[in-house]
């Protein structure tokens, strides 16, 4: 997946938790990727089903919500878009480490920060989220 500096590659990040999705996506953008955010496997399917949208890899939470599981999404995508690398992550730590790997292999626009700091940040903001966030907003 090595790429010349300045060329953008496009990823899709699939995660049902907006706080995790945002931080992982932001991390990947920092190192030069164009990132499509999908909240569900259904949203990911819409993107992956459109062959006009070039995608290099998908980073998907193994527990992502949607009408099909992340594993079903991967099986479907491997048939429909075999050129796309589908990466499943079962935890925030794995997602951050996989994102760091993508940054090592990818556009290298900026040196990515330590993936552990991404994990710590995600845990901090999730921990600070009110139990009933809607009534406190």
């Amino acid at each position: 997946m090595a790429q010349e500096l300045g060329e953008s590659q496009r990823l899709i990040v699939v995660d049902g938790d907006v706080l995790v999705r945002h931080v992982i996506s932001d991390y990947l953008r920092t190192c030069g990727y164009v990132v499509i955010e999908a909240a569900t496997t259904d949203e990911a399917s819409v993107v992956l089903d459109d062959s006009a949208i070039a995608i290099d890899a998908a980073l998907c939470d193994a527990d992502a919500p949607g009408s099909q599981s992340a594993f079903q999404l991967r099986a479907w995508a491997l048939q429909r878009r075999p050129e796309i690398q589908i990466i499943l992550a079962g935890s925030v730590e794995t997602a951050a480490n996989k994102a760091a790997q993508l940054c090592e292999e990818g556009p290298h626009l900026r040196r990515p920060y330590d993936p552990q700091s991404v994990v710590e940040y995600i845990k901090r903001i999730i921990g600070s989220r009110p139990a009933d966030r809607q009534s406190n907003a």
Binding site: L19, V47, Y113, V118, I125, A137
Partner: protein
């Protein structure tokens, strides 16, 4: 355009931040892409629940752009009302393909489909207004 120092996580950002609420993944991506290309940081939310989750983190925000018709417990008009109650100085722009601009608490209504240049101009204007308010009253919003 005025600039402010904001933080968006482990990486620092020095760009105005927009919360974009849109349930159509392709429209959301294209709109966010236009705004990022124009120099803004964009937080993406698929519905009002995600928008409120992002708002409650205390993440610095300079503008909310929300679709009106969205699934979930709250549409864009209700979301705008909640935000205006809690953060009255945070400007809000509504996007919709329907003519629903009659009764709303937003600062701007943009009909879909919109011209990307018009979107960016509107955003610059609203964010500029927010900076002026913050300068006049640093504790507001």
């Amino acid at each position: 355009m005025d600039e402010a120092v904001i933080f968006s996580g482990p990486g620092e950002s020095h760009k105005p931040v927009i919360l974009l609420v849109e349930d159509d993944v392709l429209v959301r991506f294209m709109t966010a892409d236009i705004l990022r290309e124009a120099g803004f940081d964009v937080l993406e939310a698929v519905d009002s629940s995600e928008a409120l989750a992002l708002l409650t983190t205390g993440h610095p925000l300079d503008l909310v752009i929300t679709d009106i018709r969205m699934p979930g417990h709250m549409d864009g008009l209700q979301l705008a009302s909640v935000i205006k109650n809690t953060r009255p100085n945070l400007p809000i722009a509504l996007l919709s393909s329907h003519l629903e601009q009659a009764d709303h608490e937003a600062d701007m209504f943009l009909p879909k489909p919109y011209d990307p240049d018009v979107l960016v101009e509107v955003v610059k204007r609203l964010i500029g207004a927010e900076w002026r308010k913050n300068l006049a009253s640093p504790n507001a919003s």
